[in-house]
């Protein structure tokens, strides 16, 4: 049934809401990629089977629903019971019978499945009261975890396409752009270009054939916000794109998804089919005479294809390599025709802005960065997962408030933001309000919204080397500064972490970094030195220690670090003995253990398992002074 008028759309919404409210009891099972990896599909099956088995015992109108990512991946598989709003974490298929018996039928809360707050030690049954959720404000992710991404009616019942209907039925394209301008929306892909300005420039471009593109080639290590949006609420992306196409006058759209996101492709494909069948996409959308359709294109696994000009080359069927952007894509983009390209999250924001108004969106955030922003919080933090917060939230609030602090309560050292092109922000800047400008000033960037928390067991030189290695492998190799520069920079860092650093290396790094920033063709190369420069800026003494003292202060770099057991702290638990991969530790249970330096490979496995912190690191060169080979 295609919807061909405003009244028909309202009827469709009413019908969807009616169906939704009839399903008064819901058992939501998170089927985002993280929870699926933890076995949530089996949990969903077990719950559905159990509900069917109990038949008439189960209260009427109880449904299981497979939703997208709830974000709290650390605690998955997650199950939420509605309308009670109870959150169960780390649910196993064998818990299904108990959940149905006690909670669905009996209305009780099963204490052992409830989230235990690490800060207070209290069990918090309410989804909304868990600090991880309580402190968030969700716009782009408004419906993720609430809806079944494979069911358009469920999405519509939760407000999907309301923004599109408002735009198409009551607004001119110019008014749509004005609304986006009032919202102050900026590109969520990381660069933060004002979306309204991009759209206006494309609208003004001459030519009848224009394109709207969604960049779903999220490739940063540790980032997964776009994946979760495409998997968990594909309709928010489609709605945003249709609105954008209407605003700029485009009739063709592409969603470029990386092939490593198969679930996103499945859900997007399904959502496109359902939207088309309802007349929300395709010819004569909602009977307004506006035509627009979207095709999915799957990326082939090149990081550089997340760069907009390379992405467009790839869409054209050519080798995905960047080109100069002196003529904007809004004038000459895909197939040399005017093109608007926005990130998944940006598109997901658009529908909400249209539905609730630009002023509402602009009421959140900071002076120049409005609204909310999604982040993937990972690394050495207690609550890893996907979060969305108003711009301007401090790093401290993100890491300690929502993240629950550093894993194992170790000291915080730095947080890496913005992916491989971002930088490391030190403890002294924990109160930094997170927005585009503040992160850039701190030598990092917003980028993909990845946040990797690092504790004191992190060597910043090694961190920089890691990102350099990633980028060296991902550089397309088209331009000299990026291709040759990364190769040479990595060689310097491999020497540094192996204790082969030379005086003058820091200056050499700085000169090369500047050359790459100024000389590279695209943002991958221009920003590649960021991890290097930010760690040099805040942790220069660590670099100096590696070069001058042949020491790794964090005790990480293997070539520079030796391990030993502190006699007074060892309780003889034998844990280190069991974990040592090379048999370098000897000792009987309840007796003092010893690390043998001739066989130890400095992997640090013993350090990580020792319950009494009896293992200490020291510079390897001291071994020679002690007369050990």
């Amino acid at each position: 049934m295609r919807i061909e008028s405003e009244q028909a759309f309202q009827r469709f919404v009413a019908q969807a809401r009616k169906r939704s409210s009839a399903r008064s009891r819901e058992v939501l099972v998170c089927c985002g990629t993280g929870c699926l990896a933890n076995g949530s599909a089996k949990v969903a099956e077990a719950l559905a089977a159990e509900l069917a088995k109990r038949g008439s015992d189960v209260p009427v109108a109880t449904f299981t629903k497979r939703t997208g990512c709830h974000g709290f991946c650390e605690r998955g598989p997650l199950v939420v019971l509605q309308p009670q709003g109870v959150l169960y974490t780390r649910v196993k298929p064998r818990d299904a019978a108990e959940i149905v018996e006690k909670s669905v039928i009996g209305g009780e809360v099963i204490s052992r499945l409830v989230y235990k707050d690490p800060a207070s030690g209290q069990r918090i049954p309410g989804y909304a009261e868990v600090p991880f959720y309580q402190r968030q404000t969700r716009v782009a992710m408004r419906n993720i975890g609430r809806i079944d991404p494979a069911d358009i009616e469920d999405a519509v019942a939760h407000g999907a396409y309301a923004g599109l209907a408002k735009a198409l039925f009551t607004m001119t394209p110019e008014q749509v752009i004005e609304e986006i301008e009032v919202a102050g929306l900026r590109g969520r892909g990381g660069a933060g270009f004002p979306t309204a300005r991009k759209w206006r420039s494309c609208r003004a471009a001459t030519g009848d054939r224009k394109f709207v593109v969604c960049n779903g080639d999220e490739g940063d290590p540790g980032a997964f916000k776009d994946r979760s949006i495409m998997e968990g609420d594909p309709h928010s992306v489609i709605e945003g794109m249709v609105i954008g196409a209407y605003a700029v006058g485009a009739h063709e759209g592409f969603i470029y998804v990386r092939d490593e996101y198969p679930l996103a492709v499945v859900h997007l494909t399904l959502a496109l089919e359902q939207a088309r069948a309802r007349g929300l996409l395709g010819a004569n959308i909602l009977g307004t005479g506006f035509d627009f359709d979207i095709r999915i294109s799957r990326g082939g696994g090149a990081f550089v294809c997340g760069e907009s000009s390379a992405l467009m080359r790839s869409l054209e069927g050519k080798v995905g390599e960047p080109r100069a952007k002196y003529v904007h894509a809004t004038e000459r983009g895909l197939f040399d025709l005017p093109t608007v390209l926005n990130n998944v999250e940006t598109w997901a924001d658009v529908g909400a802005i249209l539905a609730r108004g630009g002023a509402w969106f602009a009421s959140m955030g900071t002076a120049k960065s409005k609204g909310t922003k999604a982040f993937s919080l990972v690394g050495k933090v207690k609550n890893t997962g996907l979060i969305e917060l108003p711009m301007g939230t401090t790093l401290r609030e993100i890491i300690y408030g929502i993240g629950g602090g550093v894993l194992g309560d170790r000291p915080f050292k730095a947080v890496q933001t913005g992916g491989p092109s971002g930088g490391c922000v030190p403890e002294s800047l924990l109160d930094l309000p997170v927005d585009y400008e503040k992160l850039t000033e701190a030598g990092s960037m917003m980028g993909s919204g990845g946040m990797i928390v690092m504790d004191d067991r992190t060597c910043m030189v090694e961190v920089a080397r890691y990102f350099l290695q990633f980028l060296t492998e991902e550089s397309c190799g088209k331009c000299i500064p990026c291709r040759e520069g990364l190769h040479q920079m990595l060689a310097i860092f491999e020497d540094l972490v192996a204790g082969r650093g030379k005086s003058g290396d820091i200056e050499k790094i700085e000169r090369l970094a500047r050359g790459m920033q100024l000389g590279s063709l695209c943002e991958l190369g221009k920003s590649a030195p960021n991890p290097v420069l930010s760690t040099l800026r805040y942790f220069r003494s660590e670099y100096e220690a590696h070069i001058e003292r042949r020491a790794c202060p964090a005790g990480i770099c293997r070539e520079l670090t030796a391990y030993e057991i502190v006699e007074t702290a060892c309780n003889g638990c034998h844990a280190c003995f069991k974990v040592c991969p090379v048999g370098a530790i000897t000792g009987k249970i309840k007796e003092l253990h010893v690390i043998h330096h001739d066989t130890c490979i400095s992997c640090g496995a013993c350090f990580d398992v020792c319950p009494t912190q009896a293992i200490r690191t020291f510079p390897k060169k001291e071994l020679a002074e002690r007369g050990v080979a």
């Binding site: 003529v327 190799g477 500047r514």
Partner: protein
């Protein structure tokens, strides 16, 4: 991708409006659609390039033609761009030798010298920018290929696309598909001829030519008998239309001789003309 369109945007033939700009203080006029590099060359200002060729679309890979551009109303703010791809604008001020341009160019050449430590063209260019030896780790397997991609681009431009750049990052190289004899190659030598470091090997011997591991049968000049073009090349261009098969019957030298003979015949026939008198 039509030849006319590219040439139009490159040589600035569209519109025909003239733009005035300044390059290192010298004012110069170019047609609308021209790039800053052409303006600089017209002004007699030398800017080094390695991947640029006037017959091909700009590429932007070598980064040597970096320049600073600004406008009076920008209040002193400069933008670092590459001259081969930045469109000339009315009133644009181009500075080709600012501190950061010179320094960045030096870093780029230093890196390129590390890649190609034994290549005369690179050594000479580096020397002119004050670099005798690379400050980086010299390539243990020296290559002459600077990855300017002129070869692959000219091959694309001819509509053949027999070779391409393959692999990413430092592993990038020019190669035929799967490293095997390229099925689409016509042995025209455009790649080898355009290569600025002459690093694409080929061999033309009596009756055959070998390039990219593929051996071609040669077509002989019907007059002098010299093997002057591969059969595949003649077939390719004759097949595309516009060029008659008979065009390939004579070699270039014999064609010139024939043309000269025609001129002589014509001039003898025309009153008042004498040739070689």
């Amino acid at each position: 991708m039509s030849l006319g369109k590219e040439m139009g945007t490159q040589a600035g033939e569209k519109g025909g409006r003239m733009l005035s700009l300044s390059v290192d203080g010298k004012s110069v006029q170019v047609r609308e659609g021209a790039f800053v590099l052409e303006a600089a060359r017209a002004a007699g200002v030398e800017i080094p390039t390695l991947c640029h060729h006037p017959a091909l679309e700009p590429y932007g890979g070598c980064r040597l033609c970096l320049v600073d551009v600004t406008r009076p109303e920008w209040g002193g703010w400069c933008k670092l761009v590459i001259a081969c791809q930045f469109p000339a604008e009315e009133g644009l001020l181009v500075h080709t030798a600012t501190e950061r341009v010179v320094e960045t160019r030096r870093v780029v050449l230093d890196l390129l010298l590390a890649r190609c430590p034994e290549t005369p063209l690179v050594q000479e260019l580096a020397r002119r920018h004050g670099i005798e030896q690379t400050s980086y780790v010299a390539n243990p397997e020296p290559t002459d290929c600077i990855l300017c991609a002129l070869c692959t681009r000219v091959c694309d431009h001819l509509g053949i696309s027999a070779i391409a750049t393959v692999n990413r990052g430092i592993g990038r190289e020019v190669a035929p598909p799967w490293g095997e004899a390229p099925p689409d190659c016509i042995g025209c030598l455009a790649c080898a001829e355009i290569c600025p470091t002459s690093c694409i090997p080929y061999e033309t011997s009596e009756g055959s030519r070998t390039i990219w591991g593929k051996t071609f049968e040669m077509l002989r000049c019907t007059r002098c008998g010299r093997a002057h073009v591969t059969v595949a090349e003649a077939d390719f261009f004759a097949g595309r239309g516009g060029v008659p098969r008979s065009y390939f019957e004579l070699c270039d030298a014999c064609k010139r001789k024939e043309m000269a003979a025609t001129f002589v015949k014509l001039s003898r026939g025309a009153a008042g003309f004498s040739v070689g008198a």
